[in-house]
Amino acid sequence: MEIELFEIRNHIISHPPFRHLPKEAVDELVAHVQVAYFKSNAMILEKGQAAEYLHFIRKGAVEIFRSSGELLTRMGEGECFGQFALMRKKKVRYPAKAIEDTLIYLIPDDRFQILYDRFDKFADFMEEDNSIRLQHALEQGPQRWNGNEIQTTSPSGHQGNPLLFSKLSTLLHSKIITASPAVTIQEAARIMTRNRVSSLVLLAETGSGPPIAGLITDRDLRKRVIARGMALSAPVSDIMSRNIVTHQAGDFAFEAMLTMMRHNLHHLPILDNDTPLGVVTVSDLIQYASHGSIFIVGDIFRKKTVDELADLAPDIRRLFVQLVNEGANAHTIGAALSRIGVSLSQRLLQLGEKELGPPPVPYCLLALGAMARDELTLLTDQDNAFVLDDAFHPESQDAYFKALARFLSDGLHRCGLHYCKGNIMATNKQWRQPLSVWKSQFSDWIDNHDPRALLNASIFFDLDGIFGETRFADELKHLIRTKAGDSPRFLTCLARNALLRRPPLGFFRQFVLEPDGAHKNTFNLKRRGTAPICDLARVHALACGSTKLNTENRLEDIKKTDLLAEGVGDDLLDALEFISMVRIRNQARQAERKEAPHNNVHPSTLSAFERRHLKDAFQIVARAQDFLKFRYNTGRGSSNSR
């Protein structure tokens, strides 16, 4: 063997997974390397041929295909392929083709097996394709992400707050106790005593309604029975609470806590789809909570002036940093901040109405975009609108709503939710309209499929009524759900717009950076990372009639359809989580340094771990975008601007 094959040795050793091998192992490996050259368009591996080598791309570019002929991935210098067939000791499953003149170093099977058996890191790397690699990265959690750049500030020093990671299902310890609403009050009290529970779930008889008809608690027995002198033989349905708020077992404990604080509940039944599993109480949650600052939502509704609300801004930033440091996932953080944003909006309108008097006609506040999707971060503009009752008289009544919108908008701005640069706020006359005008506006967007008109309007398709007559919002949602899915040309326009923002990844997996401006040599994690995923999830969600707003929930719905190939939905979920977390952690760092938060990062400030997985994630997004093009036939004129 000849270690003087410097060119091969030095190149191989500078790339993972070979970088971690001992020097002798690399020398030994180089002596067994074979070199092959493929002209552009030549097949490198044919499906079904015997797997003999690990392929390492020395120069050039290669495309790997699925058996269906669909493009699986594109690889460039320094990347490996062919390992899966070797590990399975089987035939080649994915054909590979050179798309440029390509020089490949071939590592024979026997050498591959030796490295695979002897070196765990090498084996780990080989076992993961980029989507699996990304998933592992997520599972490893934040500790590994960026070395020590973010110090854990948890005073007790334990690893994160369990409340933030825990699914509600893990908080349920005892069997759920239920009864029929027809039992007497006395019987209900006996059941509760016998089972030593403080609440009783009363199941709906049958039918398509909610599975839980009502709920009674110890306190109800005191306040509604004893204090009022009710007959113990009356049916429990006479005193039970109705319209019970519930959570799903897969939701995070943190979200349940926010719900309970928002509705001032002490008991929250947990369902698995339609099956009641148990009841979570405030004290269950408090046992898990280690910090008091998540009670911000409760504080908001106790504040009496805008000044007092504005004083909460630093607390909100601190909470954000704390959630990040405790290892909360992007979904939890987005939901917590959105809940705070919604609560601030609600409280501001309450205070506004107190100052300006009651509204002349009923109205509804729409949350739009990130807040509606439960994806708020520290750096999200306020996007909102008013839907007014159709009895609205612009001449005499608009002054009131204009003043209310101004009150809301200024208040939010002072609390850290800055004015919307695109002027999508209720302060803008255009976005302060009666319901019928909103309906024709949405019909116009959907029927006239003008891509330019839609360009700034996609944010309106993520809407949620958060204050006042929320049924107005429900009517708009209904209109969107029934119309959008049946309008292929609308979906095509929306899909085309969703392709305008490409991930910042060049052909050879290098990051594409901003060429100039204030953010020169950086890339934007929102515009080129999370936003493209939200955009494409929105298109698919509207196509399949999903009622969800949150991108993660939308992807879960989309997964149940055949809009995406098997596994792509999960890959996108992982990509979303990873990019969101890099973005959120970036913001948390800025907040800790008291800098103005922004979404741009310089690749050199990322850890190698983050860089590699970001590339994997971006590649998943790019692939999903390519598929969107194909799925909604965006064809001619689809822009590809970077």
Binding site: I8, Q34, V35
Partner: protein, 246 residues
């Protein structure tokens, strides 16, 4: 450095006879057992398709270009098929020149005098080299050096010639890029000079990576890769080797 004439039929060794016949002739006429064994291993007939030929890329680093005064410093070689290079039989051999004058070695080759102090002389490596070459068609980029210096070394040492066919990757490039330097008038007419035939420039045209030159084995590897690219680009596995060698 002019490449060899474009038409290989004018190459001196193949003018009258094919290489197989020439090897048979030489194997009868040389007396040195090492040379005899080399020629006995014979040479494939000219009509043999490229896919059946064992090649060996060879590169010499010398103290200069003058056959009369310069000496071989190192020899790198690596065997290959038309579509596959095998690194396991690659070698890089450093040679101590006989009564060599002082040359500024390290400047180009990275070979220092201390490297050479313990290196074998040409005589000691000749047998291994010939054994490795036997049965292979030699590949070189600008064959004058490899052929000329090895032949001269054998003649000096043994008084007998070392001849062999060479597929010259530079000559293969010259076939499509006829060397041409426009004069002032031609330049004014808009004619541009032919592309460079140097190893690194030729490789670039086939999308091959940039290697650090002037290390015998690296250059041999570079030549081998260039040859695979040339076959993939312009010839075929069925091309008779006689159309390529000179």
């Amino acid at each position: 450095m002019r490449p060899r004439p474009r038409d290989h039929k004018q190459a001196p060794h193949t003018a009258a006879e094919d290489w197989q016949t020439r090897f048979n002739h030489l194997s009868r006429n040389v007396t040195d057992p090492r040379l005899k064994a080399f020629y006995r291993a014979s040479c494939v007939p000219a009509h043999t398709p490229v896919k059946k030929v064992n090649f060996m890329a060879l590169d010499l680093e010398t103290t200069g270009l003058d056959l009369e005064t310069d000496a071989i410093l190192s020899i790198g070689y690596i065997p290959l098929k038309f579509n596959r290079i095998c690194c396991s039989s690659a070698r890089n051999i450093i040679i101590r020149p006989g009564e060599s004058p002082e040359h500024p070695l390290a400047e180009i080759h990275g070979i220092t005098h201390s490297h050479l102090k313990n290196a074998p002389e040409f005589d000691n490596i000749l047998e291994d080299l010939l054994n490795a070459m036997a049965g292979h068609i030699i590949l070189a980029h600008y064959n004058t050096i490899e052929r000329g210096f090895l032949d001269r070394a054998c003649r000096e040492l043994l008084g007998q010639p070392l001849e062999f066919p060479v597929v010259d990757t530079m000559e293969l490039e010259a076939r499509i890029h006829t060397p041409f330097t426009p004069n002032t008038f031609q330049r004014w007419m808009g004619l541009s000079p032919s592309p460079s035939l140097r190893l690194s420039h030729s490789r670039e045209r086939y999308g091959l990576p940039r290697y650090t030159p002037h290390h015998a084995l690296t250059d041999a590897l570079a030549t081998a890769e260039l040859f695979m690219a040339q076959v993939a680009d312009r010839f075929s596995p069925e091309t008779p080797v006689g159309e390529l060698w000179i």
